[in-house]
Amino acid sequence: MLHGHQTWLFNNQPTIVATAVVGGPFEALGPLADDFDLLHGDLWLEQDSFEKAQKKLLEDACAKAIQKGGLQKQDVQFFLAGDLLNQIISSSFAARTLATPFLGLYGACSSSMESLSLAALIVNSRAANYVLCGTVSHNGAVEKQFRYPTEYGSQKPPTAQWTVTAAGVALLAAEGEGPKVTSATIGKIVDMGITDPYNMGGAMAPAAVDTITAHFRDLDIDPREYDLIVTGDLGRVGYEIAADLFKKHNLDIPAEIFKDCGMMIYGPDQQAEVLSGGSGCGCSAAVTYGHLLNRMKKGELRKILVVATGALLSPLSYQQKESIPCIAHAVSIESSQ
């Protein structure tokens, strides 16, 4: 259980028995398109608002994960979810459809690993046999919430990021076949005084470094024990900063095992649109539950550390010139083979 200052060890091996990843049309053009269970060709998902489309993404992913796990929705004991809209409406509304006991979470883009670590904790402590956890983001809905209208012609700087339209959901069970969640490090807020909402990578990089450093300190292991250490959505700018921060702090993480979900989800031909990289809480969830777990199933990866990063600002706080508090949560997942 508690190991060191802020890390949980899951001795009872909570298992990810099923995952589901649903994406939008822009993600379908990316290099990870084959790892999605369902891709929508229409950004509206046949709904009459982007907010409803975001809820639909999460509902679809939940239904798919439950089906892939061979369960009925009443078999799921708890549902943990988060998103980026005000009052996390997409998560609550999807929970209304599921009619499952529900805990809503907000950790901005770190919600994906926040929900996975808490779900693992619940299953590990035998407080439930099946827990569903997931996050969702939708480009139209989130840009509307945090930035300008989607069709507004403003020029974004090269440090800006592109909100991913995707939902990722994992079904955790006390027993079963699949990768095991072995430990989780809960991050603390790191605020380096950055106020520019178009530079999330630069704001979040120190939080990611802080949590990763804490993880290796608490567990007293070498970074090379992992086949892959992947951050949530630092983008190119934040990734470069994080890599240099590791060097500065003498934490030796080889570049070939350090990657970023925000840089993996889109291809080079989508570069002009995504600028620094993908972001949003659907980003790390979709890449982890889709691409990375698929690679784990193929035997290409044995043990990975997913570090989801979140910028805990609101449109109001940055207009009032507040700096951006950031957080990161790390979860390690091991292949059962």
């Binding site: 209208p149 069709e151 507004y152 950055i194 700018v237 649109e273």
Partner: protein, 159 residues
């Protein structure tokens, strides 16, 4: 960042910010200025063409042709906004598409489209001028101040 804000930061925060700044790509200012110059100029040439078309074909004078020309430019901008092209041009062109009347039309049309899902009155009506509102407020106020100065000068000259 202003000096006042920088003073509030701790030494660690200041150190990190200069560390991060060295690794962040800046805005490509020269490229942006060139693109803005080209696109802004092209928009003006198009508007000049429309203006000449009205002058030659209809009963307009140099003074009255401005209004129908602006109306056509606004219409073009709103159409490009609603089919989802304007924001892509703007990412490339920057100030080139933002400064002419087309940019103003885009700010109103995009906000109207964005908030359509919240209804016509509270959604479209209430949010249409979300971005353009401050331009109108400060534009009207600046015009008022300039007019006031002009009137006072005229009165002083007259007396």
């Amino acid at each position: 960042m202003s000096d006042k804000q920088k003073k509030k930061l701790t030494a660690l925060q200041q150190e990190y910010q200069s560390f991060a700044k060295a690794r962040e790509p800046g805005r490509p200012v020269t490229k942006n200025i060139l693109r803005a110059f080209i696109v802004g100029g092209v928009i003006c040439i198009v508007a000049q063409g429309i203006s000449d078309f009205f002058l030659w074909n209809f009963d307009f004078t140099e003074k009255t042709v401005g209004n129908p020309t602006a109306a056509v430019m606004i219409l073009i901008s709103v159409i490009l906004t609603s089919v989802g092209i304007y924001d892509h041009i703007a990412q490339w062109a920057g100030a080139g598409t933002a400064v002419p009347v087309t940019g103003f039309a885009n700010s109103i049309a995009s906000a109207a489209i964005e908030h359509r899902s919240e209804g016509l009155v509270l959604g479209v009506g209430g949010n249409m001028f979300k971005l353009a509102g401050s331009v109108i407020v400060f534009g009207v106020f600046a015009a008022f101040v300039v007019a006031l100065i002009k009137t006072i000068l005229a009165m002083l000259e007259g007396s």
